[in-house]
Symmetry: C2
Subunit: 252 residues, 2 copies
Amino acid sequence: MSDELPALPWERSRRRAAPARVPLTAERIVDAAYAVLDREGYEKLSMRQVAAELGVAVSALYTHVSGKDELLELMYIRLFKGWELPEPDPARWREQVADFARESRGRLLEHRDLARISMGGMPFSPDVLPQMERLFSLFRTAGLPDYVAAAAGDIISTFIDGFAYEESMWESRQRESDQTAWPDMRASLRQYFADLPPERFPALTALADHMLPESRDERFELGMEIIIRGLASFAEETARNGGGAGDAGGGS
Amino acid sequence: MSDELPALPWERSRRRAAPARVPLTAERIVDAAYAVLDREGYEKLSMRQVAAELGVAVSALYTHVSGKDELLELMYIRLFKGWELPEPDPARWREQVADFARESRGRLLEHRDLARISMGGMPFSPDVLPQMERLFSLFRTAGLPDYVAAAAGDIISTFIDGFAYEESMWESRQRESDQTAWPDMRASLRQYFADLPPERFPALTALADHMLPESRDERFELGMEIIIRGLASFAEETARNGGGAGDAGGGS
DNA sequence: TCCGATTTGAGAACAGTGTTCAGAAGGAGC
DNA sequence: GCTCCTTCTGAACACTGTTCTCAAATCGGA
């Protein structure tokens, strides 16, 4: 090829600026992936799109990330970054569980379609151990028997993830075929249930007014309230059967 | 081509047998799709695979089914076929709800990865109205306030679908990289939690023995028990506050 | 300062995917 | 016999994740 003449100063700095100024890292790839996700949605989140976002060839990604699966996993792990759960307070465990759930859903909903990545995910990464510790500690101080405390996190997470996933699906289905907005949709569905033959569908017609929630938040709150009450009944049971000394909580 | 001489009898029946005996229908496409799903799994369930299963060109499917989305929807709807819920019995509502949940999970697990299709699905098809009626009737006769009865189905389904989805994901992840089987995996994860520094992770180390369930069924049962107890607390509350005679609803 | 070794990005390619479209085959009705 | 219309085919398009070879840039050491 040509001799290795020194480049002109401005060219030199330009040369350095464009290609190598910011080296490609897994971190930057995750950043770009989030940008694509928020802008385009889960369906269009492809390796090529991520590469384009970085102005880089697709194959370049594969030196920093083993594949799309790992990329999604890294995106998922970032969910927990900077999330510090409060010190468990036995007297306020119900609110604390509810707060955890809200925060969890909030983070899931913060980025479009992120819930779809999170599902079936929990790869037991050491990064999430502190949060797990706080959460399980919360269940223990609430007075739950060990076997319930150990399962509660799993069960609640399943509900939250499932809930957020369904929200995400619903939202994207809404988006793609710009149907009527939710208030209209809700009204017409309510009417649909109300107009069913009452002799064949007594329960559906009777409940028509309550079938469709006014907002997803409302449903979520009720769901969590049900689960928390269920947990509380285990705690009360334990307290009655001689859980006794120390932090005998006691319900309402 | 050749003149239209009458075919010989056996040829005639053979001729009818191969290409045109069974006309392509949405029903047969769904059958084939289920066959592919069970054999190959969700990831490899493609229109081309389905077409190959039927010995037909891909594009032929599109005259009977608008696209892959609709095909998945049709597969989902078949889930409910031949599923008759029992007459609600107020005295046994807890068992009946648990039975519904078990049946639901069972149907989801009957076909590999079916849970992955079901999520975010419930397209309010009229086909499922009878089942919905029975379910909501069950919640009403259990003495739940209307706004809870109307949400209970949604909330329980979210949990069940999410649970089955996670099971499906876990199973397929297990399958692809033939890692150690669950008992071994469980043992080593238990050890991992047990070996954490107790001063930093008191709850995790204390709960190590119960963190990983012996079987998924156990976890599922506990999850449903928690939700059912939560629902029960609403029913009791209503009963105390003068639910009294008949089924006088009346919110607070 | 230079030079070899090693890492990192580029470009093309492979085997897939969902979907669409012009055209051929088949059957129904006259 | 002939149309008409539905159904199916084969090829094509625009994508997808991943892998491969090869060139470019970077870094360590002399």
